[in-house]
Amino acid sequence: MHFDLSTEQRDLQASVRAFLAKESPTEAARELPETEQGYDPALWSRMADDLGLHALAVPEEHGGIGASFVELVVVLEEMGRQLVPSPFFSSAVLATRALLRSGDVDAMSRLLPGLAEGTTIGTLALTEDDGSWDLDAVRLAAEPDGNGWALTGAKAFVPDGQSAGLVLVVARSAAGLCLFAVDGDAPGLSRSALPVLDGTRRLARLEFDRTPAVLVGADGAAGPGLRRALEDAAVALGAEQIGAAQRCLDMAVGYAGTRVAFGRPIGSFQAIKHKCADMVLDIESGRSAVWQAAWSVSVDGNDVPLAAAAVQAHCSEAYVRAAQQNIQIHGGIGFTWEHDAHLYLKRALSSRELLGAPDQHLLRIADQMGL
């Protein structure tokens, strides 16, 4: 039993942290959203080429490094901390895990190497106009078309849907739920960027009009694999959230230690101190749960459905609370555009809804409890 990062994982953590602090300062989270692409392609390539982050948790036979899911989670915590505006989550988590869990070895051989190298940006298009992450809510229609398939309908709120070269689309055929690979430039696919609250996470609306698509996995059998992929993603997102919440806490503690009011640093007042202690309770609980779930994913543990839902239910709220309290502790300055605090709050809101709001995860847990 060793419930902690290994020495190698600590090294990975330290090197990613140092790299991102230098290469993706929080100004990037403020400036890149104003650009057309919304992320830094040069940084994207360096993350892939120099650090091999995209390939980390991809098996070696598909062009990856073959590290465990725990390593991926270590990286995501650092990305969350630094608020890196990047399609990394969409590509290296959503798309990559959807492929890995599809059971379609052919599709993996074809598509994973590009994702692992970072030459392809992938994403998963699941939610539609109602914003539901429930697989049962998927309506987009898939119909056989010659040797392949054609998709018709719309997806909304697709993370990085505008820039992805590979869109994995969840659709419904006569046989049931299916996963399809669609080229970002496919005919009959029109993509429009949505105005976003959180500029570090681009969203797009995708309209499909008899768009050619390649089936991944068996016709009508995508449900179980997608569910597992979404569980994996829930754990990875939890890591991002905890990293970001930790940064909020660090900012708050730092400010409270230097800001003086009534002749004392405000951090010496219990009202501030106890808020920060509450953040510690939230964050340490969350980090423990994320690590446990990541390990469980890495060994295909039975408790992943509970562990992943618990991670999202907990970390989503923990991060929102931390981001809100960080602003409160900073006072007026924390409410300004120039301060980073609001960037973390907006990301907290977008992360809370991504993959389903906490109540959706809680209801899933209630089902598991026999309620």
Partner: protein, 411 residues
């Protein structure tokens, strides 16, 4: 116990209702329903119409150009206006002039000050901003560094003030400065009125959490104001400022409750539209908001009733301030949750007001407004005395609990 308005107030209500019926265009559904591009012009015209009909700043005495009405008539007018979705104070700086400075002027101003400032505040010639905070004095209100020295008949002011809402459209500042550098903290402060349109004053905008330049900071470098513009006398600034904070916190409660009720109806519509109105947890949470609005209205009515009987507002205003601020965070958080993924891609017209609930008429489906309201609500527990400071005040001044001991000198 009698919660009805007196007959003369009800007569006034009828007059207000007639005025509204005469003044508003056919099919009027509230300021919130106007296209955003048309709102500014409507507000300019509306202010003029109020002025022409003696319905602006109604508690200003007649000898200073006002209507000379009582607090209860002001409350009636506010209720009626909020209900049909028009502004009582159409210009962004009117709030600071009429809700904060005017009552203070009436209490502490000399005849000359009142005669000069009141008519010009009414006409809009003078547009006020508040100047409580400094970069190193937010919650610690009296820890001021801005100094003023007497030079002939003038005060010469040096320092910096920050967090002026609507500062960029103001041309006068009411603020506190240290006029006796030897005195400790709250002593030696004076409350002064400073013209902003002078070489010694620089105003810079501050963008807020939504990216809107709604705030400002003021740099005072040998800025000058006449000694005649000291309110309440040199060295009495702390007393004047505390009274003023009391006015800020007490007066708008009833109107807030009315606006919150309108906002809550909008939330009910949103819940229906998002398919959440049958969820027991959402029903409970919205009803809980309704309970909060109802109790807030009761607290505010009680304060209004006390105000009618005279006397300056006391520490009870901390109650309204904390309740209002925290309620608005609660309800906007709930709205964002009801929006779900739609909150991440905001659409529709944005917020018209940044410091209060949106006016009647706003489309409930406008996710942009809900999201901005959520973000703007974060500041409500900070400005005008944070929720932590309000709780200190309640504990120490209402309950008489022991103050924080003075720290011993560092060792």
């Amino acid at each position: 116990m009698d919660l009805t308005y007196p007959p003369e107030a009800e007569e006034f209500r009828e007059r207000v209702q007639r005025f509204l019926a005469d003044s508003l265009p056919e099919g009027w559904t509230g300021l919130g329903a106007l296209p955003p591009d048309d709102q500014a012009e409507f507000q300019r015209n509306w202010r003029q119409r109020l002025l022409d009909n003696e319905l602006l700043g109604v508690t200003v005495p007649a000898e200073y150009g006002g209507a000379g009405l009582t607090l209860v008539e002001q409350a009636v007018l506010t209720e009626e206006f909020v209900r049909v979705g028009v502004s009582v104070l159409p210009h962004p700086n009117d709030n600071f002039g009429f809700n904060l400075l005017v009552p203070t002027l009436l209490q502490y101003g000399t005849e000359k000050q009142k005669a000069f400032f009141l008519p010009r505040t009414l006409s809009g010639e003078i547009r006020w901003a508040q100047g409580y905070s400094e970069p190193d004095a937010g919650s610690d209100l009296f820890n001021l560094r801005t100094r003023a020295t007497v030079s002939g008949g003038d005060l010469v002011i040096n320092g910096q003030k920050i967090w002026q809402t609507a500062g960029l459209t103001a041309n006068w500042l009411f603020t506190m400065v240290r006029t006796d550098p030897g005195a400790e903290r709250a002593k030696g402060l004076s409350f002064v009125l400073v013209p902003l349109d002078q070489p010694g004053v620089e105003l810079r905008g501050i963008r807020n959490i939504t990216g809107v330049t709604e705030l400002a900071e003021v740099f005072l470098t040998d800025a000058v104001t006449s000694l005649d513009n000291v309110l309440g006398g040199l060295g009495n600034g702390a007393r004047v400022a505390l009274t003023l904070l009391g006015f800020e916190r007490g007066i708008s409660g009833v109107a807030n409750a009315e606006a919150f009720a309108i906002e809550l109806r909008r939330l009910v519509q949103l819940a229906h539209a998002r398919g959440r109105s049958a969820d027991r947890d959402i029903r409970l949470r919205i009803a809980h908001c309704q309970v909060k609005v109802h109790t807030l209205r009761c607290v505010a009515l009680r304060a209004l009733s006390a105000g009618l009987r005279g006397g300056p507002p006391g520490p009870e205003s901390s109650l309204t301030k904390a309740l209002t601020a925290e309620y608005h965070q609660l309800v906007t958080e709930l709205a964002v949750e009801v929006l779900g993924m739609a909150a991440l891609a905001p659409t529709g017209p944005g917020a018209y007001d940044t410091l209060k609930a949106q006016p009647l008429g706003l489309d409930s489906a406008s996710s942009a407004a809900w999201v901005e309201d959520y973000l703007n609500a974060r500041s409500r527990t900070i400005y005008g005395g944070s929720s932590e400071i309000q709780r200190n005040t309640i504990a120490e001044q209402i309950l008489g609990m022991p103050r924080e001991p003075r720290p011993a000198a560092a060792r």
